[in-house]
Amino acid sequence: MQIDDTFAEAFGMRGVRIIITAKNQKWARESANKLTGFATSVIACKCEAAVERELTPAETPDGRPGISVLLFTMDSDSLPKRVIERIGQTVLTCPTTACFDGLPDFPDRIAIGKPLRTFGDGFQGSKMIDGQRYWRLPVMEGEFLIQETFGKAKGVGGGNFLILAESADAALDAAEAAVDAMAGMPGVILPFPGGIVRSGSKVGAKRYKTMIASTNDAFAPTLRAITKTELPEGVNSVLEIVLDGLDFRSIAKAMQVGIDAACRAGVHSITAGNYGGKLGPFHFHLHKIMSGDVEDAPKVEAPK
């Protein structure tokens, strides 16, 4: 099994952790699934979001079952817009749910419950509990509770690794094993379907100049004979795992676990996507990560 001496190149994002609680795990999951729907890539979805993990009643502010979700955008300005519209349409509307900030110690705060309170049409009320304001919105079911502000993290988006396999089945088996191994790791999400990407992209396009991303032809096996391929002999399918996280270390640790799980029969090698270091300041060197060095830090400050 070969792990290429290369690095995954990632970029700065801004993120929140949303805690959704409900009467039971079913309704917390229903809400979280809707909130994180169509949020695979900022390229077209304007944000990237996924479930981080399920929470026991002992882990949630109101003592009910819950789910934590991470949501990322490319900049600070768009973050509250995306969070407000998604919570407003998928958590506020969902039976029995309440919504809390999952980053209470983060000093940068964005107003989420405050703008959403106007749905209450003047009938809303607020409560201060432990120094935090919560809004009570009257709804047909009863009442929806949401925290006024959420912590904003300077996160990292676009951590990745590619699984180069002998067959499509082998690639999928390895990718599923990697996703299972990374499931529930704190501070990390895998925003694509099932955590796996089959259509990795390159920046721009060769033929269609208006495209901001197009197929990664260097890793497309059907194009091996007609393009400048990156595929070694014997590789017939490639799947990618993309990771977003609250910090560099969380992603690096998840990559270590995921790559380790992906190294199995039928996999030829593991590599990673980068743009020569010109796109993003966060570089996840596969050899360093697999040797346990997950403390690397970006040399360049993430964009505002």
């Binding site: 109101d62 003592g63 309440a98 009320g125 409560k127 201060m128 432990d130 009570r136 009863g142 929806f144």
Partner: protein, 273 residues
């Protein structure tokens, strides 16, 4: 500097003393000699603190008061931080206008505890007198922040005219929450007559029996989501024996006082089988 300043009553107090000089954040900057020289008021006469208390320790934000202090009034007035522990009972106006810090009373406290307080916490193991968390005389609003936890009973007009914060007690006398502007009054036992009269936006949580005033109107029976958050917070912070049946229970919501703006509420817990 010592870990704690201990003030021990030399002899039982024969008359009331005004002791608003005793607040941890003010004592934290003083030597034992300076603390002994602080002025207490016996009517119109000044008494040195050192004549009433023995002083041990200095320059600490943690203060221990020992003795039966039921005649000592105004302790913790305008307190802004630190901790104050009182091993016995204490007099009126405990923590009046306090802005921060924590007061713990192992006995009981007199009238006007936490009057017009804006922050911090007062925890009383016994009972408190009238107007806990209320307003200063002539003032429009009572406590505007912080928490008052009374493990025993409160006298009349607990939380009257409160603006913000939480007042929790095991039972409340007549007129509890009268004229509440906002804030939260939580009573685990009985609430006396006239509770919530003139309430504007306040929340009165009745975990025990309550006579809902006729100027309130029944709205619905439901689980108030903020209440589980609040009760769990109180359980965690003050080690209160909060029942899970209350945390996740059903409450009747009465809107009122409709003689006022009607945005207040009485939440009456419903025992379920």
């Amino acid at each position: 500097m010592s870990d704690r300043i201990t003030l021990t009553l030399r002899a039982p107090l024969a008359r009331a003393l005004d002791a608003d000089a005793i607040a941890p954040d003010r004592l934290a900057a003083l030597s034992a000699r300076e603390i002994s020289a602080l002025e207490l008021w016996d009517g119109r006469t000044v008494v040195a603190l050192g004549d009433v208390f023995t002083v041990s320790g200095d320059r600490s934000p943690s203060v221990l008061l020992e003795g039966d202090l039921a005649q000592l009034h105004g302790v913790g007035t305008l307190m802004g931080g630190g901790t104050l522990e009182i091993t016995g009972s204490v007099g009126n106006s405990l923590g009046a206008r306090m802005r921060g810090g924590a007061i713990t009373v192992l006995g009981s406290a007199g009238d006007d505890a936490g009057s017009a307080m804006a922050g911090g916490s007062i925890v009383v193991a016994g009972n408190v007198g009238d107007r806990a968390g209320g307003a200063l005389q002539g003032a429009s609003k009572g406590m505007t922040g912080g928490e008052i936890i009374v493990r025993g009973s409160t006298g009349v007009e607990a939380g009257a005219r409160m603006r913000r914060g939480i007042l929790y007690c095991a039972s409340a006398g007549a007129g509890a929450g009268a004229g509440m502007i906002a804030g939260n009054l939580i009573v685990s036992g009985t609430i006396g007559d006239g509770g919530g009269a003139g309430n504007k936006r306040g929340t009165i949580v009745a975990l025990g029996p309550v006579r809902v005033p006729p100027t309130y109107a029944y709205a619905c029976t439901y689980r108030p989501p903020h209440l589980s958050l609040m009760l769990l917070s109180l359980r965690k912070r003050f080690d209160l024996l909060v029942d899970d049946a209350h945390v996740h229970g059903l409450f009747k919501r009465y809107s009122g006082d409709l003689a006022e703006i009607g945005k207040g509420e009485i939440l009456e817990w419903q025992a379920t089988r």
